[in-house]
Structures are given as C-alpha cells and as structure tokens.
Amino acid sequence: MSKRNNFVFTGLHIIAWIIFVGLCVEAGGLIVNFIFSLYKPEFIQNLYQKLDLSQMYNLNKWVFFSIYSFILFISILKACLFYVVIMLLHKINLLKPFDTYVAGQIKNISYYTLSIGLISYIARQTAQSLQHYGFEIDILNQFWADSQAYILMAAVIYVIATIFSRGVEIQNENDLTV
C-alpha cells in the first residue's frame, strides 16, 4: 500500500467520524425535540435548526407526528449508515481486504442506503400530497431532497458488494490453494 493511499484512507476515516458525530447530534436533537413536543407543544415553533412546524401542528396533530416520524427515522437511519461505514473502515485490512466481514458490511451499507432512499421518497410524496390540504411543506424539503441519489447509490453499492463477495470467494479459494 502506498503512503498516499494510506493518507487518503486515514483522511476518509476522520471525515466519516466527523459526519457520524454530526448525524448523531442531529438525530439526538430531533429525538429530544420530539419528546418535548409531546409534553410542551409551544416548543414546536422552535425545533431543531429553527424548524417551525407549528402551523402543521395546529392544523392536524397526526400529520405533524407522521411527518416528524419520517424526519426522525431518516436521520436515525443516516446515523446508523455512517456507524456501519466507521466499523467497516476500522476493521478493514488493506493488505487483505477480501474478508467475509467486509463483504457483509458493504451489503449492509447498500441496504441502509436503499432504506433511506425509499423512505425519503415516500416522505417527499406524502408531503407533496399534503400541500393540497393547505400544509406548508417547503421547509421540509431539506430532509428528503436527495432521495433519488440515495436509491442510485444503493444500487451501485449493491453491485460493488456482489463483486466484493465474489472476490472473497476467490480469495478464500486462493488461500486454500497450495
């Protein structure tokens, strides 16, 4: 492994950790806000990152909780996704990368990515349908703007995972060839 590759890999590891911490903070903030909104509705005006869903709450509480559940679920899935990425980067051995664990983790990444993409897409369609009933949904677009990108990424990662699994089989066969 060249020194440059190692440097890039270490850099990726650090970036993954930074993103993971950021996503955990976001998911944690959303969870806390959710719990607070159950007992003190006045906090809905000033949710995580100054999100104001008070109009939605006043029109229909169930719609508010449904949409907020989508937001919460997506943010938790993103945090889980990056946790898997960190575990993968932590355990991968670049000298012998074709490992059953690594192949499994790459498949898990593709499943999480697909879940995020599908749920984001469903949430976006749900929010767009609510527009006809007078709900303001523009502020929510930030949470599911990139749903199609996640679905595409999931497909690409799944192909990579399949190729990697075949690589593991070939590696194992090679290890048992004398």
Binding site: N172, L176, T177, V178
Partner: protein, 68 residues
Amino acid sequence: MPIIVNLDVMMAKRKMSLNELSEKVELTLSNLSILKTGKAKAIRFTTLEAICNALDCQPGDILEYKED
C-alpha cells in the same frame, strides 16, 4: 470431498517428517498441513511436481478419487 490426499501415507513410507518435506518442496508448514488434512481446494502442478520429486512417487500415490 471426493479427492483424498494420502500425503501422510507416502510420508510414512518414505519415513519423512512434515518439517523435512516442507524444506524440500519449499512450502510452508501451514500450507502442507492444509494439504495433509484435506482442507485444500486446489493444488498447483508445480507443488505436485515438487512433492512427487521429494517423495519419489507418482501423483496417483498421493491423490485418490473416492465418490461420496
């Protein structure tokens, strides 16, 4: 597996230990052990040639086919 490796039989006939054989064929003890215990998935012709040369035998003396 239908292919049986009778390496230990030939080694006993030639009164050769695993260490000696590994030095002669230039194969590590772990690889020889994989072959001896029947865990190997494949064997290179160069390895087979070296083993036959070291044990003064034919490939058929080491490899046997038995249907499951």
